[in-house]
């Protein structure tokens, strides 16, 4: 394979993750389709910037790996915070997920 195919995050994963950040993630379950649209994020410029930030974050070089056996708290907390600030997680959901993560 071409060298260029390695060392970059996959496009399919990027598309899925940026959809969550931008609040346009959809769920197809049992034939029902739910589109999530946060009116506060409805400004196109804001949404596009969120997507660019998310892609940049995904393609940034990975941080130094955590000590062997230690869970990646910072990475997961950051992800939760992003999902919270973009409206995917409510305040309650975010608090619950954070409590669960920190034990």
């Amino acid at each position: 394979m071409l060298m260029r195919r390695f060392g970059r995050p996959g496009l399919i994963g990027l598309a899925a993750r940026t959809a969550v950040v931008a609040g346009t993630a959809t769920a197809v379950a049992g034939g029902m389709r739910r589109a999530q649209y946060n009116r506060a994020q409805g400004d196109a410029a804001v949404q596009q910037e969120q997507i660019r930030d998310e892609v940049a974050a995904q393609t940034a070089p990975p941080p130094a790996p955590a000590a062997a056996g230690a869970p990646d708290f910072m990475g997961e907390l950051n992800q939760l915070a992003q999902l919270h600030s973009s409206g995917v997680l409510s305040d309650d959901e975010f608090a619950a997920a954070k409590a669960k993560l920190l034990g």
């Binding site: 260029r4 195919r5 649209y37 410029a45």
Partner: protein
């Protein structure tokens, strides 16, 4: 000049089975790609060998004069190894497929105009050709 350098891209995986020749498949695509409407950004021949590994043959590895070797590919390597692994998950041992990454060039400028106008695309859903044709022939 807008922020978008490219339009949206479809990753199309075409199964090669039986007597189908890859040259014939590529020739079928040829009239519609390489234009202001659609453009071929990436292309790779894929197969799963006897040991279960997915093998990729790149355009640049083919001999000149091969119809596939003569394809104009604008962003070779765009599709990552991770994407290929995900797309070929169900490819059986001994089977092969052609992967086309096709850019909707027409949608790039539209995307810029939409963004300037403050429009936000909520969802995009692809309905396969067979489904539309069947639905409209009722």
């Amino acid at each position: 000049m807008g922020a978008l350098t490219h339009g949206p891209v479809d990753l199309v995986l075409v199964e090669m089975s039986g007597e189908v020749s890859s040259a014939a498949v590529v020739e079928a695509f040829a009239p519609v790609i390489g234009s202001d409407v659609l453009r071929l950004l990436d292309f790779v021949l894929l197969s799963r060998d006897e040991s279960g590994e997915v093998v990729a043959v790149e355009v640049e590895e083919l001999e000149d004069g091969d119809v596939i070797a003569d394809l104009e590919v604008f962003e070779p390597g765009l599709v990552t190894a991770e994407d290929i692994t995900e797309l070929t998950g169900d490819l059986p041992v001994g089977a092969s497929a052609l992967l086309f990454a096709i850019e909707h060039v027409w949608a790039r400028e539209l995307g810029d105009l939409l963004e300037s106008a403050g429009g936000v695309v909520l969802t995009e859903t692809r309905i396969p050709a067979h489904v539309v044709s069947a639905a409209l022939s009722e």
